[in-house]
Symmetry: C2
Subunit: 499 residues, 2 copies
Amino acid sequence: MTISKFEKFEKFFKPKSIAVYGASKSFMRFGSFNTINLIIGGYKGKIYPIHPKYDTIMGLKAYKSILDIPDEVDMVCYVAPIKVLADKIMEEIGKKGVKNVIVVSAGADEIGNYEISRKLKNIVEKYNITMLGPNCIGLIVPKSKIYMSPMPIYHPPGNISIISQSGSVAAHILLGIKQIPFRLARVISVGNCLTTDLTDCLEALEDDPETKFIGLYIEGIRRGKKFIEVAKRVALKKPIVAIEIGQSEAGKRAALSHTAAISTPSNLFSHICHQTGIIQVENTIEWLNTLYAMSAVPLPKGPRVGVVTIGGGPGTLIADLCEKYGLKVPLLSEKTQEIIKNKYLPVTGSSKNPVDITFDTDWSNFFKNIPKTLLESGEVDAIIFYGIFSTNFWVKVMEDMPDHLKGDDLFKSDSLKEMESGMSELYHQNFRALRRMIKKYQIPVIMTGYNDRPIDDGVTLAREYGIPVFYPAEGAKIMANLWNYNKWKQSILKMESKI
Amino acid sequence: MTISKFEKFEKFFKPKSIAVYGASKSFMRFGSFNTINLIIGGYKGKIYPIHPKYDTIMGLKAYKSILDIPDEVDMVCYVAPIKVLADKIMEEIGKKGVKNVIVVSAGADEIGNYEISRKLKNIVEKYNITMLGPNCIGLIVPKSKIYMSPMPIYHPPGNISIISQSGSVAAHILLGIKQIPFRLARVISVGNCLTTDLTDCLEALEDDPETKFIGLYIEGIRRGKKFIEVAKRVALKKPIVAIEIGQSEAGKRAALSHTAAISTPSNLFSHICHQTGIIQVENTIEWLNTLYAMSAVPLPKGPRVGVVTIGGGPGTLIADLCEKYGLKVPLLSEKTQEIIKNKYLPVTGSSKNPVDITFDTDWSNFFKNIPKTLLESGEVDAIIFYGIFSTNFWVKVMEDMPDHLKGDDLFKSDSLKEMESGMSELYHQNFRALRRMIKKYQIPVIMTGYNDRPIDDGVTLAREYGIPVFYPAEGAKIMANLWNYNKWKQSILKMESKI
């Protein structure tokens, strides 16, 4: 009986106990960080620090060798000199019967120490160990409260999984997480890919019930044919969004000295993406935003976008970029335009698409009635809004208002506090209605604005109702990514149904 | 004697008194916003509200007509029905002798009311008035505390000026200002450009002593030949960064119904930029970031970039994108590599370029010694860093630490508070040194990271020392924009010196 890739990975995701090498009494050491975050992150299993000298580390009983631990060990995280691992420790780990090992330590292939890699590989194969690394960053599995990363950020579980050849990307993106509030199932850092590569991880996630969306950060693909076969199969079940780096001369040089990766020629990877339905993106922020959008809204069933805006300039920018990226912003039918114009627009507005409300005191036209009309019309496959604002910025302003103004009728009669709570209530109502419409019509709706994203309460509120918010240009690109994935998927399913 | 364009605009920038139409007793009216912000923003001149009914508005004496105001009026802001303006008010404004008028009200050409435009134009020409609009957003001049915009954000003065055909862009970008801390001289919203267009504004800013950098948000250029002539002349003195919208079918439709603009064909504008040295950007965020970077650091004198990183993945991404955008990331000489490798790198690091420090506890290698070596080497024209972090995230983490850990030796001996203040002190020292080096070598240095930008104190600190911080992909693009401008300027100056 063969064990599936997912079964081989399962103990990474749900280990009952973890042995850690490299944690010490000194704080500012790389070896300490992963263990500190594992503890503070709230991991509920057993943690066994292993150290040649100390009896306790970070309040935990320490062992001289893994062979001294009386109980079973499900997983090892190694952040100590790699030569010792190759010469002695990996053998002990094998003898202890541990099958899942993460080697954070660097200093092998990427700096020319091929002998170390050869030794490690032999032992790992002898004991049938699944090893991530060397030269990776650790592992993050929020549902199991495993935050084995040098960065002290612990965020809630979700259904997006990341496989990254760059450790810093895997670790540092979490720092920006407040700006991109997506939720993670697993972050797997593969480092030098000595015995486990991207393709292995992709196969493991294929059967992983917690993973619905997959992000790849690629420096170079090793087993091209196998990767294509696996990616194509997985992408039909779970969208894959990938960023590939290392195509330039300097990039190749960097990738080689970084994870000893031989980068794929750039065009080649674009071809692979085309074949496999992988959505290729240009930068890390777009990568994260696309995964976030996919996890938040349905996929568009066609390329037609309705743009709803409170400002002509941003609406035009979004329309331009939608068409640049392969979407369409169709002129609305006379009938739909009549409804919008007569019922929901001020005289200065435009109903053509972009639908530009210019200025209206009744926000329910903007946030509810106009999108409802669009969704019911059958003329659009997606909606992109421009214009979302904090509910309280006027209130904040009033705190700095000159005293003689505070007594003025204007600010007495129209209570600003009431305005704020009214605005907030309105947002709640409209976003709830919008959420219901997204569900009913299965059409994606996203919002865009220039707001300070981690701060603005309008943005926060929209996101709480499952409506993603981006910068305007990002919004257009992300919607195009969603459509490109679905277009590929539909074409494959259609082809298969004909066979 | 002819009056220069700048002289015609001067009263927009330094008016001693402003008459406002449209402010009322109701808060949630567009007509009230500009006046509220003018008052709260702290404008020191006289404000004269004009209203047919009320005696006071917002604590200020109101007048029935501008002709009733006993004193001189330097400028008018009009946010009331446009038909009344054309039929009666503009004539009164002319009679009062006001030469500078901003018409925020919409409802003319962009919705087909050409008659209104015709009337307005006649009166404006008769009285020799400089009019912005109709259908613009107001005006922002921080140095004069003029925040005549619907958005309640008042930020400090600087030397970047914006000319925008989109009012919402002009107003809303200020909402995101905390993420892009650049400082503004003037924000001019031109709207329908009835009698004053982009080119007029560009000419006015040419001689404006407060303006050093110019941003254009363009929906369509009307007097192409004149625009090219002016832009080329201005760009040699003051860098111009432009975003052009309205090239797609939907975009053209939107621009027409927005500011009645006939968009320029897309390729045409790229050609114009090529000729005139205007730096064309793709989206609003890149536009603002480029202006910010130009105002903060010197221009690169060549295309060679040194990338200094704490993470291989982001370093490789930056190197790739630099080369994609026309910069070079050259392999460093043996000599420079030796210095970096022997003195400032751990064994796992790479000195080739990207210079990857991987992990080092001594941040002064990263932030001071390595860039110093690069700057002194003469081998790079610019430096892009990856890796800047909050000084206090570990301290925050410790607050949530389990009690049994708080007593552990690790956290007693290495005081984290000390670590924080040490880190902060180190940042101050290194950023100060870096600032001095930028000045000495006149070479631009920017930093990149994935941090939450308006929150992170490492980012804030770097910016206080005049070192801009961006996302990694943004950083590469922005540096390319800076180099492209200087490359153009050098080529023109070289050509002219030969004549």
